[in-house]
């Protein structure tokens, strides 16, 4: 019984948080069979969620500001910022950036959700024209995002 309990614990720990989001039009799940929360469009715009530790413990405005300062210092150019509340009441902010990549201009977007000791990041990236084509659909889908537990 003790082995069974331990096995279940590791299984849950290995799986990590269960993110949920209504499927945005034009994007399909791309989990390669290992349960990652990842989506892609046919033309290569990619979306993926991950968790990082909320360390030092801070609220959403702090991390939004810190992200903005860091990416600006790195040479990214801010395209847009949008803060919203999801249908289930989670507060999130999406920061969209322009990033030079080879001979192309890319958009790199980071949506931040803060839940106690976790910060959930939903990152998205794609060449400018392709990203712009799905950005409204993605913004709408993000309003249904659940950071899980």
């Amino acid at each position: 019984m003790r082995w069974l309990t331990l096995s279940l614990f590791f299984l849950v720990a290995a799986c990590g948080p269960t993110y949920r989001m209504e499927a945005p039009d034009g994007l399909v799940k791309y989990d390669k069979g290992h349960g990652k929360f990842a989506w892609t469009t046919a033309d290569g715009v990619r979306v993926k969620a991950r968790d990082v530790k909320n360390e030092p413990k801070a609220e959403l405005p702090f991390w939004t500001d810190a992200t903005q300062r860091h990416l600006t210092a790195r040479g990214y150019t801010k395209k847009a910022e949008r803060c919203f509340t999801t249908k289930l009441g989670a507060k999130g902010c999406t920061l969209e950036w322009l990033a030079p990549r080879g001979n192309e201009d890319w958009v790199y977007a980071v949506s931040i959700f803060v839940t106690d000791d976790r910060v959930t990041l939903v990152e998205a990236a794609g060449p400018f024209a392709r990203y712009v084509a799905i950005e409204a659909k993605l913004a709408k889908a993000l309003e249904t995002f659940e950071p899980g537990s």
Binding site: H70, G75, L121
Partner: protein, 211 residues
């Protein structure tokens, strides 16, 4: 012989008169500055990110044509345009509405002094040229050769000054407007370390690598 001596006396003074800022020319320049409007050159840039650059490029070229301007360079990522100065700000506003503005500059420089100075120097050189030509009528071979050498040098100076003046006047007549559609040509991503560890993982390349 008398002509030859006369030339020797006149040439140095004539050439001295060709030096910049001679008194009569300066006086004329001041009068001109007082009586004419300031001559201003405008230089504007616009960095614009759009989803469909081909379509926007065509729209911009149409707008510029309607405004009485013309392109001097057309490429996928950039348009160099010359437009009437009074149309620049209105054009920039219209073009800005076609996409996401990443940078916008508008610089004015007063060229009145430079143009007046070039005009005065050109006038002085022309006067000297006319005087030298009049010496040719009654001079001997040696003097003629000397006068011709001086005239050749003057022609070179005249052409150079005329060119400079034309460029300055063209810059005043038409403002320069550069519209750039490509961000990656202007920027690069640097490695900057944040004290907050996870911020260092925010990067388009890392994101794509881990996808």
């Amino acid at each position: 012989m008398r002509t030859f001596l006369l030339l020797f006396l006149l040439l140095p003074s004539a050439l001295y008169a060709a030096e910049p800022a001679p008194l009569p020319a300066h006086a004329t320049r001041t009068e001109e500055s007082e009586h004419s409007a300031r001559q201003t050159a405008m230089d504007a840039t616009l960095m614009l990110k759009v989803a469909h650059p081909d379509q926007v490029r065509r729209q911009v070229l149409d707008l510029v044509k309607q405004a009485g301007g013309y392109p001097t360079y057309v490429a996928d990522g950039r348009l160099d345009l010359r437009v009437p100065p009074q149309q620049v700000e209105s054009l920039m506003t219209q073009v800005s509405q076609m996409g996401l503005i990443l940078g916008r500059t508008l610089q004015r420089s007063d060229r009145t002094e430079v143009i007046a100075d070039l005009q005065a120097r050109l006038r002085t050189k022309r006067d000297i040229f006319q005087r030298l030509r009049s010496f040719l009528d009654d001079s001997n071979v040696a003097a003629t050769l000397k006068v011709e050498r001086s005239m050749t040098a003057l022609v070179t100076d005249l052409e150079r000054l005329r060119g400079e003046l034309e460029v300055e006047e063209a810059n005043v007549r038409n403002a320069s407007l550069r519209v750039s559609f490509q961000f990656h040509q202007e920027r690069r991503v640097d490695q900057v370390t944040s004290p907050f560890a996870w911020l260092n993982t925010l990067d388009v390349e890392q994101f794509l690598g881990a996808f």
